[in-house]
């Protein structure tokens, strides 16, 4: 970062030197007082193109930002919903789990639709990984034995669930970072 700044300062200094040199050599320049209509039209067209292109690029950049923000919000929401699974005393309410995983599945599916719609180029493997992590998480949580509407976790499965849940969150964070870089 510091090296970059130094290079910029040196460049500015060199440009300054050049301008200074040219201004002392002003006598070498000749100014044509006749206006060439073709050149004038060329200049106007160039100015118009510069303004038009920069406006179009700015508009596209703003649209891109909005699309990215929507997808990031969706990813954050997936993270929040998955965070609702907290195993206490090796138990978790069965009916809550099935409903949370339905929400998660719907959200992931909506995310995929949004990504396709915006045309943002995500790493397809990471989207697939999000989906497989979700399924892994659902399988370990809702695959446990149920008693009195409570999923019963053996210690080993509880620990596995925590690890899988963490991996799901990690892939969500990676996708958020990737989205910002696109």
């Amino acid at each position: 970062m510091r090296g970059n700044k130094k290079t910029i300062y040196i460049l500015i200094f060199l440009v300054g030197l050049l301008i200074g040199y040219l201004s002392t050599q002003w006598s070498y320049f000749t100014i044509d007082k006749n206006i060439n209509p073709i050149d004038s039209i060329g200049i106007i067209v160039n100015i118009f193109l510069v303004v038009f292109i920069s406006n179009a690029l700015e508009k596209r950049k703003t649209e891109n930002r909005v699309e990215k923000d929507i997808i990031i919000d969706k990813l954050k929401n997936i993270g929040l919903v998955s965070g609702k699974i907290i195993i206490v005393d090796n138990k978790f309410r069965f009916s809550s789990a099935t409903s949370i995983f339905k929400d998660l599945s719907t959200e992931i599916s909506a995310l995929k639709t949004m990504i396709n719609y915006t045309g943002l180029r995500f790493n397809e493997n990471k989207i697939m990984e999000l989906r497989s992590r979700y399924l892994e998480f659902k399988t370990i949580i809702t695959g446990q034995v149920v008693h009195n509407d409570e999923l019963q976790f053996e210690e080993i499965n509880k620990n596995k669930s925590i690890i899988i849940g963490r991996k799901l969150k990690e892939i969500i964070y990676e996708l958020i970072i990737d989205c910002n870089k696109l």
Binding site: S95, K102, T139, V146
Partner: protein, 105 residues
């Protein structure tokens, strides 16, 4: 023939076995799915299973219902005779097909 799980069985499908709780996969298989499947097989038709409208499915429910159906009918490819509908959770279809496919192994 159509089986709508939310309407014909429960909007809160339960765990794997009857002993684990109400509206289990075992109960669904015993009271609805097995009979409906046999019926369509005998008529060479396709059974439509609508998965929408419920509060969500546990992995164990889906595996026990459709995986078990495949294990009970090893000479048949179950998914050739069932048409699944899941507008709310499109990924559910892949999930169920995976359980059926695993049951054939």
């Amino acid at each position: 023939m159509t089986v709508n799980i939310a309407k014909d069985f429960s909007i809160t499908p339960g765990p794997r076995t009857i002993s684990e709780g109400s509206y289990s996969a075992e109960l669904f298989l015993n009271t609805i799915l097995r009979a409906a499947f046999k019926n369509v097989l005998s008529q060479s038709k396709v059974l439509t299973v609508n998965l929408d409208g419920t509060a969500g499915f546990a992995t164990s429910f889906l595996e026990e219902s459709f995986g078990c159906l495949q294990r009970e009918n090893p000479s048949i490819i179950v998914e050739d005779h069932i048409h699944f509908i899941s507008e709310e959770e499109p990924y559910l279809l892949e999930e169920i097909l995976e359980y059926i496919s695993n049951a054939r192994k």
